[in-house]
Amino acid sequence: MHGLFRWSGKWWPGVIPLVIFWAIAAWTSTEPLEADLAQRSTAALKDTILDKRRISVAGRDVSLAADAFSEDGRQSSVASVEAVPGVRLVNDETRLVPEAKPFVWSAERDVLRVTLSGSSPLPASKGRLMEAARANLGGVEVVDRMNLSRGAPPRFDNAALLLLDQVGKLKDGKITLSDTKVSLSGMARELGGREAIAAALKNLPEGFSVAANEVKAPPYIFQAYKDPVAVTLTLTGNAPDNNVHAALVAAAGRRFFSEKVVDNLKESIGAPSGFANAVVPALGALSRLSTGTLVISDREVKLSGDALYEAAAVQIRAGLGKDFPQGWQFKPEISVKPAAAPVDATVCQQLFSELLGKARIRFEPGKADIVADSAGLLDRLIETALRCPTANIEISGHTDTDGDEAANQALSEKRAQAVSDYLVKAGLPANRFSAVGYGSTQPIAANDTDQGKAQNRRIDFVVK
């Protein structure tokens, strides 16, 4: 032992090469060691859920900075790195992800993109939401502005996924989930979309509820265009169901006696209440115009075009709004068609016969009240009468043979008088017209069929 002590006094010269060894070892090994420890630490944290993870190594000391989603997760991440062989110290710079109160998540859609913002509980659920958004909204750009926060309500993912589905049904708008309350605003993409969203919201996971649903339906549009060149009436837009659709087409057929009705209507739910009751009189008003367009958007009715004469324009402007159900608005833009060139009496007679050959003035059964459907025809008769201002006209009423002859005679007279009154009310001088009833004495068809009888019940205009 004493020898060892003596010899040790002479060991110092070897320290000089040892120091050189040490310097070279330190010089060459530090960076590979740090890289190796960084890689091992990263591997150790592979299964730990952390956000903004940053690992830096100086010598054998590892600095771990990360946002953890629970206190346990935070501690276990530090412990995992401490357990990595070779690590001397862990500088713990971890913290807990901030808690959001209330926990708000939202998806906003505009024309170009869908933006997801607010809080999301975990990176995995954030990824899942982004993936679902891309899949559901095919082709639309999805922007991720979500933060990670603690404090999400249970079953957040399910609720958010269901709401993302609804974003697909919006044209634009925003869906917000604040804790367990859902608020929606915006415009549905299609008619019926609002109802579909409301139905889907019933499947929200337990605990979630709808605080406000202000999704609006797109305007319910109905359009009719009367084309005097093609002699067509084109119906486009929506009708609420099969029955209303058929009724509208039938009503158009009755009112537009010379035009071909082109039916391009689609059936969609979401019509405003009183839809049919507004469209039918509006079509009646359109039938009185020489050319015109009817646009019904929700409860707003816009009718534009040219009336055949001034009094008709005034009647349409003032009268149509009264026929609408409550809450409907009427915006007429009616001008008057320039008066047609005057013609002589013979041409006038020809024009009357042509018009009355296409359609008949119709009355309430057994009465002398002109039905509203005939307004278009009467306007055309008045326009024609205005073209031959010097001609005197006999308005003759005829009936079929059904019923008592005297009654038929009286009815035919009354009906002829009603038409004459109508013309006078439209501004024509009363002395140009004589109303005559012929009862069933001048049939133009056999009275043994319904069709023949219908032909015999008529008003004729005879230029004298």
Partner: protein
């Protein structure tokens, strides 16, 4: 420690061989050793460095270099002792026969 040895076994082996060689030589070397006073001072310095390393007060890369230096120095000393003792044994065995 096990991690470091596997990572640097080359440098550690070098230190050990150097120590063994130095120990081997020191037995028969004629010359002045380190004075008693200096020896105490050096021991105190090494003890302080070991204390610093164990307490992990030196941060980052310097801490790592200190650990590395101390491990290499410890191995050097151990093998100096082994070398010296072996040489002494060889010398004392051959001396009576000579």
């Amino acid at each position: 420690m096990a991690y470091l040895t596997t990572f640097y076994w080359g440098w550690l082996l070098g230190s050990a061989l150097l120590g063994f060689g130095m120990g081997w030589i020191s037995v028969v070397q004629h010359g002045e050793g380190v004075s008693r006073k200096l020896r105490w001072a050096l021991s105190a310095l090494v003890a302080a460095l070991i204390a610093a390393a164990l307490a992990r007060v030196v941060p980052g890369r310097f801490g790592y270099w200190l650990d590395l230096g101390l491990i290499m120095f410890a191995l050097y000393l151990c093998f100096c002792a082994v070398g010296s003792w072996l040489r002494d044994w060889v010398v004392s065995r051959s001396a009576p026969s000579a």
